[in-house]
């Protein structure tokens, strides 16, 4: 396997782990504690592009599905994956893909990154809220109020941090990988 591809595989695993660790990193900014999982989902799309970004989000779900406590609140297993919040979790895959796709189309410019994280964040709600409604049989109004409104300030903040982090770590990733010492 070419070393660049091998690096993408390892990087993809790292982003999945960061998503998992993000569930443990709480930033208390109000009544709803903000966890950093979404931040790393957006960042994986920005850093790895559509294909590998979506793969890292899928890998995160896979690790959660095998029972490790990587979902928010230290939960894990199939029950959580297919439970009421499952839509948000599956939305991570589409979100990372969309973020990566838009970012690639804009040639990873600053404007492109901002548009990408906005769409990426919205996609998570786009899947999560209807899933929540379908499982809990809530009305649309209630589902939006419970599943989206309280999280908007936190997610806006995470989108900003994702773009800042991208600018900080992109130079490390952009440099060509050193050749294996002879």
């Amino acid at each position: 396997m070419p070393i660049e591809k091998l690096r993408s595989v390892v990087l993809c695993s790292l982003m999945a782990s960061l998503m998992a660790a993000g569930a443990f990193i709480h930033v208390p900014i109000g009544p709803v504690p903000v966890v950093l999982t979404n931040l790393f989902v957006l960042l994986s799309g920005l850093l790895l592009g559509a294909r590998w970004g979506a793969a890292s989000a899928a890998l995160y779900l896979l690790v959660g599905a095998i029972g490790l406590p990587v979902f928010s609140g230290g939960r894990g297993g199939l029950a959580h994956l297919f439970g009421p919040t499952g839509g948000y979790l599956f939305g991570f895959i589409l979100s990372a893909w969309t973020t990566g796709f838009i970012s690639e189309r804009f040639r990873r410019s600053m404007t492109g990154s901002v548009i990408a994280v906005i769409f990426g964040s919205l996609i998570i709600y786009g899947l999560g809220v209807p899933w929540l409604k379908a499982i809990t049989k809530m009305t649309w109004n209630k589902a939006w109020m419970v599943g989206m409104v309280p999280f908007i300030p936190g997610d806006a903040l995470k989108a900003v941090v994702a773009v800042i982090l991208l600018r900080s770590v992109k130079p490390i990733l952009d440099r060509p990988i050193r050749s294996v010492p002879e």
């Binding site: 690096r7 990193i25 982090l165």
Partner: protein
């Protein structure tokens, strides 16, 4: 060190010894019976869940510890349904603002979700993560163009990185606190000062792991070493599939 709490509970019961691949197929079959809202199936699945639970010899404490969160959620969901679903009042308690339709719908929804959660918890508690990786490789193998070996490698790398990152977060947090960084109340700076050093360190580590894999000659075209499923382990699956097909035929 890492604080990974595996939800797997070691044991030597029939359920623990049953091949994880067959156990997963069994879980899929049971989930198929729960898709339809049928009191008959719910009742049968509830009895079967209790039977399997006793067979697994898992401590009740462990099961209820995991189930506690879901029980609260199911109860709130039930209350939502009974109070907010329109319909006729209960003949015995007409003063209660509860509808008959809501009671039935809320009861069935909570029952079905409770069963789904119960079976999933039982599967997770009796299956080692390594076995679930094997299940995944076995399931993905027939699908063309899916690199099952690579997925296996990525899962094991992700587990390794996960514990490393948690340790790094603690280190960065302590360093941040030592420099009075925790007195800064700007949330963007707070998140940046924790996430950025962790991310930079981790990305640098990626290069080391990549070289280590390349140096060991990692290849994806090596034959997989999945063991064969013993014939005896198929019997419960055949029985379960038989009962499911028979019920569909009678219906």
């Amino acid at each position: 060190m890492a604080r990974i709490v595996f939800h797997y509970f070691p044991g030597d019961s029939f359920l623990h010894r049953w091949d994880a691949r067959c156990r997963f197929l069994g879980l899929l079959l049971i989930t198929a019976t729960l898709i339809q809202t049928s009191i008959f199936w719910f009742f049968l699945d509830s009895i079967f869940l209790f039977f399997l639970f006793f067979l697994s010899r898992l401590p009740f404490r462990l099961f209820f510890k995991d189930f506690k969160f879901w029980a609260i959620f199911l109860f709130v969901l039930f209350l939502f349904q009974i109070f907010l679903t329109p319909g006729g009042r209960l003949p015995l308690f007409p003063w209660l603002p509860v509808s008959q339709e809501g009671l039935l719908q809320g009861g069935l929804t909570s029952w079905r979700l409770g069963l789904m959660i119960g079976y999933a918890l039982l599967f997770t508690a009796t299956t080692r993560p390594r076995d679930v990786c094997e299940v995944l490789v076995w399931m993905l193998k027939p699908i063309p163009f899916l690199p099952e070996r690579r997925i296996g490698l990525m899962v094991s790398l992700a587990l390794r990185f996960f514990s490393r990152i948690l340790d790094q977060v603690e280190e960065v947090r302590a360093a941040h606190q030592a420099r009075l960084g925790d007195r800064n109340f700007n949330p963007v700076r707070k998140a940046k000062f924790i996430a950025l050093p962790v991310l930079r360190r981790s990305i640098l580590e990626v290069e080391e792991v990549t070289f280590a894999l390349a140096a060991r000659g990692y290849q994806e075209n090596l034959p997989s070493r999945l063991s064969k499923i013993p014939l005896l382990h198929w019997i419960p699956i055949i029985l379960m599939a038989g009962v499911l097909l028979l019920s569909l035929w009678i219906k």
